[in-house]
């Protein structure tokens, strides 16, 4: 009874103090940065030298900085001039903000046009709220990253509260994010914001679509912010039902949609099962009797370590949809409607990659490095297979799906490289990939919708009717190719530079495979947009102001990452070093 009162009172305190925290956040952040500089100098120089040495010498340094014991009570590490520490709830707002809008939508009717418009507006509002909080979190951490604070777990935004304490293995409500997670949080919120706008014109299953998208966004953000295994599993398995329903509702229809949706559900359930077994093993074997994920690296018996490593890696490779596990995702992308295919293609495998880096590499750095050759081989296989499939396919969406698989192969190479530089490049690549694939999927869907053709060979001369569509396709294609001043360039540069010392030939092979990407995309562009215009497509409309709204946003972020990479470089670099050298949180 006492504990329940304490629990409820802590929640009430947080709710009451949250507005004051928001108002004081700006001044608090600046003073926190200044006051934390002196105390963080030693750790900053240590991490800077660690990352510098990692950059110069790709192998792990001989000395890993000591890992501080994580605290089990809520703490706000901002030493501010005001001397009042408000508990932060930014991550909670980020995660639960979207689903609150979903709960409101549940209660609204959707029979008339006005009612449906209201629901759509709430959907966009929910996505906007999440984007707002994401930008706040990312900018806060990016400004702290320069002094070595931002982008590492255990920072000022961490939230930790007692939750399932009365049990053999306790679980807590622990939210945090490193540079990797923050980059993907930015990607997720931008993509969902754009998709929320993109589905505005849909009039079928409006309520279901809005609720499912907001729930998905909550789930994805929750995965990225969870630092407790029970919480992680809840958010990891939360997307299964919404994705299943979305495919059934907005797929091609009939038996095929049912089959595709069920295949996705089965793979997701298997992935969840593997992670659940891994979580149980970690909880019982690591000696801390806690499901907390902030205790990396883990100290497990040797055999258990390997079993858990492979359980986690297997689960995340399934989610990443690398070859040979890529078919369910490809079918998903092909069968779903336009905007949804952007979400599935951009974000579903990204979560798998996040898990692979955060858990498999971050919790088991030595084991993951010992299997680096295997990851390199997987990378080459993925890139080669998907590249050849991309050349051979005639389906527009499947082409984009294969390109996404190629880029995931490159992420595997970063895992194999096992250097801070390579992981930083992987983070950039994941963000860039997500944005690029989103644009490509949205453009593909618009093309298919307006020309009523799904095959590239059936489309030609579109540039005359749809020059803006062509421009967006080319922009995304150039980013995927790694053209300078676009996001892909920084990503590939860092990734290949970081991976080359460890696996030279594999890096070269993957580099050659990745070169297929621009070839295929530009070849598709040539076939679809150039050539003589056809009478059949004379009435095809170009993108208007509505479509430009979300396409421009996506492309702008691609350009921003390409032109101003240094704004995020420290953040991602700190995230990468906290993955490779866990326990160096500030």
């Amino acid at each position: 009874m006492i504990l329940s009162a304490q629990f409820l009172s802590s929640l009430a305190m947080t709710a009451i103090q949250a507005p004051q925290f928001i108002l004081a956040a700006a001044s608090t952040t600046a003073s926190a940065t200044a006051s934390a500089t002196a105390s963080a100098t030693a750790s900053a120089s240590a991490s800077a030298s660690a990352s510098a040495s990692a950059t110069a010498t790709p192998s792990l340094p001989a000395v890993v900085p000591a890992s501080p014991t994580p605290t089990a009570v809520p703490s706000s590490t901002a030493a501010t001039a005001t001397a009042v520490n408000f508990p932060t709830i930014l991550f909670s707002l980020l995660i639960w903000g979207a689903v609150l809008f979903a709960v409101v939508i549940v209660l609204l009717p959707d029979r008339t046009r006005e009612q449906r418009t209201r629901i759509k507006a709430l959907g966009v509002a929910g996505a906007s709220a999440a984007l707002f909080f994401a930008l706040w979190a990312v900018e806060t951490q990016a400004s702290n990253a320069a002094i070595g604070l931002g982008g590492r777990p255990g920072g000022e935004l961490m939230e930790q509260r007692r939750w399932l304490a009365s049990f053999p293995i306790s679980a807590s409500y622990h939210l945090d994010a490193d540079g990797l997670a923050l980059g993907l949080i930015l990607l997720t919120t931008v993509v969902f914001f754009c998709v929320a706008i993109a589905v505005w014109r849909n009039d079928r299953h409006v309520k279901l679509l809005s609720i499912a998208l907001l729930t998905l966004e909550t789930a994805f953000l929750g995965v990225l912010c969870s630092y407790d295994w029970v919480l992680f599993l809840i958010f990891w398995s939360l997307p299964i039902a919404p994705v299943y329903l979305l495919i059934r509702a907005f797929g091609g229809g009939g038996e095929r949609s049912s089959r595709v949706a069920m295949r996705y559900a089965v793979t997701a359930l298997v992935s969840t099962g593997l992670l659940a077994v891994a979580a149980l093993l970690i909880g019982f074997e690591d000696g801390t009797r806690s499901f907390d994920m902030g205790l990396a690296p883990l100290t497990l018996p040797a055999t258990v370590s390997h079993v858990v490593f492979w359980l986690c890696t297997g689960a995340f490779l399934i989610a990443m949809a690398v070859v040979p596990l890529h078919i369910p995702l490809l079918d998903l992308e092909e069968d779903s409607s336009g905007a949804l295919s952007a979400v599935f293609a951009a974000l579903l495998p990204t979560l798998g990659a996040y898990g692979l880096l955060h858990v498999s590499v971050g919790f088991f750095p030595a084991i993951s490095q010992s299997y680096s050759l295997l990851f390199a081989v997987l990378a080459v296989i993925s890139v080669a297979w998907a590249g050849i499939a991309a050349v051979r396919t005639d389906d527009l969406r499947r082409l984009v799906g294969h390109i996404g698989t190629v880029q995931m192969g490159a992420v595997l190479l970063a895992v194999a490289g096992h250097t801070t530089l390579a992981i930083t490049g992987a983070i950039f690549l994941l963000v860039s990939r997500g944005l690029t694939v989103s644009v490509l999927m949205l453009v593909s869907s618009l093309i298919q919708e307006r020309t009523r053709r799904v095959r590239i060979s059936q489309i030609a001369g579109l540039a005359w009717q749809t020059p803006r569509l062509a421009a967006f396709w080319l922009g995304a294609a150039l980013s995927a190719a790694g053209t300078p001043l676009l996001s892909g360039f920084v990503a590939y540069l860092l990734l290949f530079t970081g991976a080359f010392p460890a696996h030279r030939w594999f890096t070269v092979l993957v580099l050659v495979g990745v070169l297929v990407t621009p070839v295929v995309l530009l070849w598709a562009a040539q076939r679809m947009f150039l050539g003589a215009s056809r009478e059949t497509f004379s009435k095809v409309r170009d993108v208007g102001p509505f479509e430009l709204t979300y396409l421009v946003v996506l492309l702008a972020v691609i350009v921003l990452l390409g032109v101003l990479p240094e704004h995020f470089a420290d953040l991602f670099n700190n995230g990468a070093s906290s993955i490779l050298f866990p326990g160096t949180s500030g």
């Binding site: 629990f7 053999p168 279901l208 958010f235 398995s237 149980l280």
Partner: protein
């Protein structure tokens, strides 16, 4: 042995006595004043249940003066400890929600509503007797009262052939289960020479063949109550034959009381060091988890799906039973906490889903996948309730059923039965598949058939909504709930 207290008799028997007295009053009024409206009996039953819950809280306050030690009376036959208080409160809450949500069964019950409400109270009383008993005779008395009351509730809808058939089959099954339980206890009595369940813990140190058989039969008899395979058919029969409102009460009360019985008998009584029954329990638990999940893959009727889900929950309770002793690291494995938390959450899910079925019946909607097509457009509220109920049964996050499954798996691993934990996880994955198909029928498939919205049943709809939403609230408030369950569990060790 906890100290004997002069007020122990009143403290321990107060909830059961209140329930029985109120049941008698309802029965008498129903006989003497048949013109009284059904709502009168319902509210009288609610008063009885609330009174019993209040009696349990009085017992709790008495326990604080004894530093949480149990109050023993009737020569050790009954005990009031924190576990009994938790169980009594849970049973009264389940009974209360069942009574308030059974409005949709009124057309079938007709003039037999007083009997129905009286039987709910007697069934709850049977469960509370099981919660406070420490002795075989009291256990059999409580189990018998519970089983007869549950059968009676189903039989009240005898004017519907399916319900009559279900009641007959349930009577036969209950009789067999009771007999198995009684024979098992008789063998244990023969081996130990005492009917005191706690005393058997020290006497049955080495369970030879006959004693092992007695333990196995006892366990099997208790498996019937929780609806675990292979004694789960009564669940399917009741859910198929009875109306949703009646089935909700029968199933949730029965399985909750079964969970209480499992803990009282197998934890307080028989020790976890007796390997024969523990091995048998492990095998039964694995089968009880996997069998209904596999069968559910081919099911298209939502009633049958719910029945298999409830049976799967029984398997999960058996799985948690494996972790009720001391774990490999010499700490409590947490199985009792998992059972208590799980039975609370499972009861809410069962109530929500079956009360939603009751609302479907009231609106003239079939429960097959054909009948449920496009329900979200025809009856959005009922569709949402059914969705939450099924999601709770399936353990889909963020509902508390997911947390309960994690805790069950944890306790099984702590008890040294990791393979059973893996089986329970596999069952969770398998059962989610037909539930997803059902959700797709509700929300995705089109059907323009009009829905007849009956004027009443607002109370039933409200209660069903509370049960469904509680599944989410229980996730948020899992910490305090586990704390309370832990307090109850510690009183057993």
């Amino acid at each position: 042995m906890p100290p004997v207290n002069g007020h122990a008799l009143v403290a321990t028997l107060l909830p059961s006595a209140l329930l029985l007295l109120t049941a008698a009053a309802i029965a008498l009024l129903g006989w003497r004043r048949p013109a009284l409206p059904a709502g009168f009996h319902r509210w009288l039953a609610c008063i009885g249940l609330l009174g019993a819950a209040g009696g349990a809280l009085i017992t709790l306050s008495g326990l604080t003066r004894t530093q949480g030690l149990g109050l023993v009376t009737l020569q050790g036959a009954v005990v009031a400890d924190r576990f009994a208080v938790y169980a009594e409160l849970l049973l009264c809450a389940v009974g209360l929600l069942g009574v308030l949500g059974a409005g949709t069964a009124q057309p079938r019950l007709h003039r037999r509503a007083p009997a129905f409400h009286a039987l709910v109270l007697t069934a709850t009383a049977g469960g509370t007797i099981i919660a406070i008993q420490w002795e075989m005779g009291m256990l059999l008395a409580g189990a018998g009262l519970l089983l007869l009351s549950l059968t009676g509730m189903v039989a009240l809808e005898k004017t519907v052939p399916a319900a009559g058939e279900a009641a007959l089959k349930q009577l036969a099954g209950a009789a067999v289960a009771f007999a198995v339980l009684a024979y098992g206890l008789a063998i244990v009595f023969g081996a130990t020479g005492t009917t005191d369940l706690e005393a058997t813990r020290g006497l049955l140190v080495h369970a030879a063949g006959l004693e092992g058989l007695g333990l196995a039969m006892t366990l099997l008899g208790l498996c019937y109550l929780v609806g675990a395979t292979p004694l789960h058919l009564w669940l399917l029969q009741v859910i198929r034959g009875s109306s949703g409102g009646v089935a909700a009460v029968v199933v949730s009360l029965g399985t909750t009381a079964g969970a209480v019985a499992l803990v009282r008998v197998m934890v307080s009584g028989f020790s976890d060091t007796l390997r024969p029954w523990v091995i048998l329990a492990a095998v039964l638990a694995a089968i009880a988890c996997l069998y209904p999940a596999v069968i559910a893959l081919a099911v298209t009727d939502v009633r049958r799906l719910i029945g298999l889900g409830v049976s799967l929950q029984g398997g999960l309770l058996l799985t948690a039973l494996l972790g009720t002793g001391i774990g490999g690291d010499h700490r409590l494995a947490g199985g009792v906490v998992a059972i208590l938390f799980g039975s609370t959450v499972f009861a809410l899910a069962s109530l929500a889903s079956l009360q939603a079925v009751g609302l479907l019946e009231a609106q003239g909607i079939g429960t097959t996948s054909e009948g449920l097509r496009g329900l979200s457009r025809r009856a959005p509220g009922t569709a949402a309730l059914l969705c939450l109920g099924l999601a709770g049964l399936a353990g889909l996050p963020p509902l508390a059923g997911f947390i309960a499954r994690v805790l069950v798996a944890e306790s099984a691993v702590a008890g040294g039965f990791a393979w059973v934990a893996v089986a329970s996880l596999a069952a969770w994955l398998l059962y989610a598949i037909p539930v997803l198909r059902c959700l797709a029928a509700l929300f995705v498939e089109d059907d323009d058939a009009p829905v007849a919205a009956p004027a009443g049943y607002r109370l039933a709809r409200f209660v069903a909504t509370c049960c469904a939403v509680s599944g989410i609230l229980a996730s948020v408030l899992a910490g305090p709930m586990l704390y309370a369950a832990q307090g109850a569990a510690l009183s057993l060790h």
